[in-house]
Symmetry: C2
Subunit: 420 residues, 2 copies
């Protein structure tokens, strides 16, 4: 590490970052309700000294884009990018973090107040601290340290604060459509500080299984949609097992189940004494890295059709399959790409350990940066994703420090900087 | 048929009955909302010349009774019995009919207005026309014909208009607790004019199957409550098949499935991408004629426990079984009882055909009259129960006429009457 890098690391304002993260957790930026948090973040970016671009996202135009997907209806949304430096012959870099958070669920399951940051035992608790206002603050305070240390980067460093990641990627798609591009990007999602170069895709599905109503006291005169659901469910589990047999991507192949097909919701009937005339189930369907979305859908639909054709009732009353909400492509970049190597060397320098390079089974905005923006992107951030979307969500403070330091070094090394 | 019987049959006011039935259909007497209909009926009973006993049911006291069961919360309810004649050495008879009706469901599925009686093609359409304001009007107009013909019965004929049959039998239990007893009773539920001397019991159940939540992208870290539900469901179908193998009651044994176990509602999860941490299913469980309720419950619970003991997860996180809402005992009377024989001979006389004597797989207020009131009771009424609780519910007008005539003859022959 040279003296300039050391100066930047020394300039990192950890206390300020933790304070600001707690401020941000206190703003309930659920999907569709991020405007206040975005305005707050824009003011912070101004205060730090970034060039702020805040705009009203043209939702109507965005919704026409083939990569658009959202579960929450929005009429407006705020885009926000804070930029540091200018193009002086170096590379441009994006740090991208989402400001939206998922609901708390039953607040009674929380031991810490969800809408307030609480540091206890070395962890920072609160909704979004981990997923991912924490990572977003690391990015912001890495940029601040470069400014505070008076270093001139040779490329642009753009800090993107985006909305709607949890419900489909509205905010990141909007930055791509506004023209933001770079030679590399880091999304500080909670990866336990592993460097993620590949992610599976995922599609939401809904299957409606028809039955025929009758009073339960003569149930043979009806057809139970629950009974008809079971072979369909079993066929889908078989499909899942088949799709996970010969996984070729080396990083995904390390997972026990790289491409899960998971049923999350089942609903049938509305009266205990009636034979249910319909059952609806919804879930998420893992898409292999590099797999064509249409081919994946066809495999699913065919599994359902095959069950239906073997069943006299379903043959004449076929189940319907809908693809709705999140329809996320997979994404991957080469593990020897400069952005991977730079994050790797930065983390190594900060911690004296080599980072893991991994693939993940979940979707995130990485796919939009890679597939829509053609921006080589890694996920790399503080904390364990297993604690996301849970009560008592937390991020270790030590991780926040390590990631802020690693991102600051990454920016210096990836963009380059003027020597004193 | 003698001249007195003929005089009574001639006195039956069919047009008046159909008009009144249409008036009654127009009063939306859903469970918990029967008071207006009961007041209307009481006025009609007065007008006809019955001695009217209308009272506010003491719901608090009723709820303490072991045979009480209800799905609707009520603070008040109206009891109503209209009596004709007095004890002069003959037998007393009860006609019991419920005035409450089930909701219409989606009105768009109706081709006839649900809250209005419409006669078309020989059928009378409208919610409750079949189940069972029609049968109740038959009973009322049979009593009216006896009065109008000036006949003095030798026993009392009581017309009970009861609430809350659909949700557990509140009104009939209230008549029993008020002291109404007789030597026989007819409940003109829709039986296609078969005489029902035995009915199965039925119990509502709710089973909660625990799972363990995880994100669907790593579903192996969770336990799907849907997956755990399937072997339980299958074990319950096996239990059903076992319980229907050697049915001893001759009338129930004629059914393809005398004691169905039917799952009517299934609900699991609230997010497509989460492994569902709980699944709840509800249904109705057929109780054999003469079967002990507790023994039936134990058989069900043991089937669930056995599955749980074979499953490592369920062993430590056992499903729970609740018995809620309708808990209906079975009921039966000898087929050679006087009330059976009297209805039989009356129907035979009216139609020149022998009635069927049958058992049914569903519960009705018969069980309360038989088991709580010790009143030998049959079901015998107009129309087909398959059309009950359905859109375009209807009752054939010809059945209404036949049943009114049969009930008038039944009253004369069962109670006896003074010769001119």
């Amino acid at each position: 590490m040279n003296t300039i890098e050391q100066r930047v690391l020394d300039a990192i304002d950890i206390d300020g970052m933790l304070t600001y993260l707690c401020d941000l957790i206190a703003i309930r930026s659920l999907d569709g309700e991020e405007t206040e948090a975005q305005r707050h973040m824009a003011a912070k970016m101004e205060e730090i000294g970034l060039d702020v671009d805040m705009w009203d996202i043209d939702m109507e135009a965005l919704e026409q884009h083939p990569a658009f997907s959202a579960e929450v209806e929005r009429e407006t949304g705020v885009g926000l990018v804070g930029t540091l430096g200018q193009e002086l012959g170096g590379r441009n870099l994006i740090f991208n973090g989402h400001i939206d958070v998922v609901p708390t669920g039953d607040a009674a399951n929380w031991h810490y107040p969800p809408w307030q940051g609480t540091i206890d035992n070395g962890n920072l608790y609160g909704r979004g601290g981990l997923d991912m206002k924490g990572g977003l603050c690391c990015a912001l305070y890495a940029a601040k340290a470069i400014l505070d240390a008076g270093i001139q980067l040779k490329g642009k460093l753009m800090v993107e604060s985006v909305i709607g990641e949890e419900d489909g990627g509205t905010g990141t798609l909007a930055t791509v459509l506004r023209g933001y591009r770079a030679d590399g990007a880091v999304v500080p999602e909670p990866t336990n500080m592993a460097i993620i170069t590949a992610q599976a895709g995922a599609m939401n599905f809904r299957v409606t299984v028809p039955g025929y109503s009758a009073h339960g006291c003569m149930r043979l005169e009806g057809v139970s949609a629950v009974e008809k659901f079971i072979p369909i469910y079993q066929a889908l589990l078989e499909l899942e097992s088949h799709r996970n047999e010969n996984v070729t991507h080396p990083l995904l192949a390390k997972h026990l189940l790289p491409y899960p097909l998971s049923v999350g919701i089942v609903k049938a009937g509305d009266w205990p004494s009636s034979v249910p005339e319909s059952l609806v189930f919804e879930g998420r369907y893992g898409v292999a890295v590099g797999e064509d979305m249409l081919a994946a859908r066809q495999a699913f639909e065919e599994a359902v059709i095959q069950v239906a054709q073997r069943d006299p009732w379903l043959k004449d009353h076929p189940p319907t399959v809908e693809w709705w909400g999140g329809q996320f492509e997979s994404a991957s970049i080469p593990t020897d790409h400069a952005i991977v190597q730079t994050v790797q060397s930065a983390y190594n320098q900060v911690t004296n350990t080599a980072p893991h390079i991994e693939g993940v089974t979940y979707g995130a905005d990485m796919r939009l940066l890679v597939n829509q923006g053609q921006i080589p992107t890694v996920l790399f951030g503080p904390g364990d994703v297993r604690n996301a979307h849970q009560p008592d969500e937390y991020v270790p403070v030590a991780d926040l420090i390590t990631v802020t330091r690693s991102l600051a070094l990454t920016a210096l090394r990836f963009c380059g900087y003027e020597e004193d």
